[in-house]
Amino acid sequence: MGGYGDVQLLRDDGLRLDGRKVDEMREVKVEAGVLPAADGSAWVKHGLNVAVCAVYGPMEAHPRKIQRQDRAVIDVRYNMAPFSTSDRIRPGFNRRSREISKVTAEALESVVLVERYPRSKIRVEIEILAAEAGTRCVGITAAAVALADAGIPMRDLIVGVASGKIEDTVVLDLDKAEDNYGQADLPMGILPTTGEIAFLQMDGDLSVDEYNTCMEYNMKAAKEIHEIMVDALKRRYIEKNGGES
């Protein structure tokens, strides 16, 4: 991500190519409980990204060698559907999906009360149906809602959100062109109520000031997405209840 000088990502009026302001997020929609066969599930649409997440468990951890005597293990499988991008993706695990599965599991372990379920496993399946930059963040958001929907005890929800740098300007929530041709990307997993960071990766270079601006943007966006997640979890039961909570 060294930056491509010949690609214009900011318009002359200061807005981005899709008309967003620098600190504006793409539209986020969340639904909880979309899969009847899973213990908990969620559907998240973030811009053109679409992710579905299913949670199963807690269940006995197999094979036995992965069991931890004092806590549960979170087994995350992040997968992009072959049709999720413009070029078909070869189905199955690859290096990238392995890496994202691992970092997502570690981020989720910091919010799930894993010590409540020794020797067990919580299975989290994240399927990216459509991709437009920032799928790991969408996957984390979907996983958090699905875990809450499955009744797994958590100390907070976790929100995946990213910001980055394009044309020497810090922007929130990079889209595909900005991700491909921008200068830096900073995805984060944020615990919205406490402001703690459970996951952080940085691709490209940011100065301290730029990093601080990214943090500020991410924190603000995390609070907004958190409200949408909470609303989705509550709406599921309030709607079913005919308007009563």
């Binding site: 807690p58 615990l191 909570s245």
Partner: protein, 228 residues
């Protein structure tokens, strides 16, 4: 979720949401003390009772406790013990010594085979979640007839009603033997007409068990059956 009857007084919370100050209140199930606040750890309704703040979860998995009456399905058999799926994260273990029969070593399969259903009690659960079951006790047996169905853990109290009043009513109108086990499994045995009625009731519990008007819907179903 008996609290669902109270409607608007209830507060639905999500994980991480502060329920109240931790000073002067004790944190019950589904909550955690973080700093000066009690926070929810599950999606559910806040319940404050005798200074204990807890969250009645909307959905939760069955976690076995000693003394629970459970309906288990035999998953594997060894020479001297059975492993049963009790709808929890781990299989329950029923040793030969806690079975109601005199079992010869190696003959366990003759009494209960894979797929058979048992009514048992949880004898012991240790810290590592090892579950020991017992079938020594009044009424504990292999369930040979009838149907078995699953309901959500949170709907058990709604199916039973206060002091099992609803369950008694259902037994009376359906003319069936009904066992509602602690692990969310329900066993029904009777004539086919009664079983069909109970299937409808269980479907209602599964779909509408959390709704405020559940009791009215159930009452209507019972009344309909009485008048039929």
């Amino acid at each position: 979720m008996s609290g669902a009857k109270k409607g608007a007084e209830l507060r639905l919370v999500t994980p991480g949401e502060a329920i109240g100050a931790s000073s002067g209140a004790r944190a019950g199930s589904g909550t955690l003390i973080m700093g000066s606040n009690i926070i929810a750890t599950k999606v559910g309704w806040v319940n404050q009772n005798n200074g204990v703040t807890s969250v009645d979860p909307i959905y939760s998995a069955y976690m076995p406790r000693s003394g629970d009456l459970v309906i288990g399905v035999v998953e594997s058999v060894r020479n001297n013990l059975w492993f049963a799926d009790v709808n929890g994260p781990f299989n329950g273990l029923l040793p030969m010594s806690l079975a109601p029969w005199k079992v010869e070593f190696g003959a366990a399969r003759q009494h209960m085979d894979i797929g058979d259903i048992m009514l048992a009690r949880v004898q012991e659960v240790d810290e590592a979640h090892n579950i020991v079951l017992t079938m020594k006790g009044v009424g504990l047996r292999r369930l040979k007839e009838g149907i078995m169905s699953n309901i959500s853990m949170n709907h058990i109290s709604r199916l039973r009603g206060d002091d099992d009043a609803t369950l008694r009513q259902l037994k009376e109108v359906s003319d069936c033997r009904i066992i509602v086990a602690e692990n969310g499994r329900v066993w029904v045995d009777g004539d086919s007409d009664g079983i069909t009625f109970m299937r409808t009731v269980l479907e209602l519990v599964r779909n509408d068990g959390h709704k405020a008007n559940f009791n009215d819907s159930l009452e209507a179903l019972i009344e309909q059956r009485r008048n039929a």
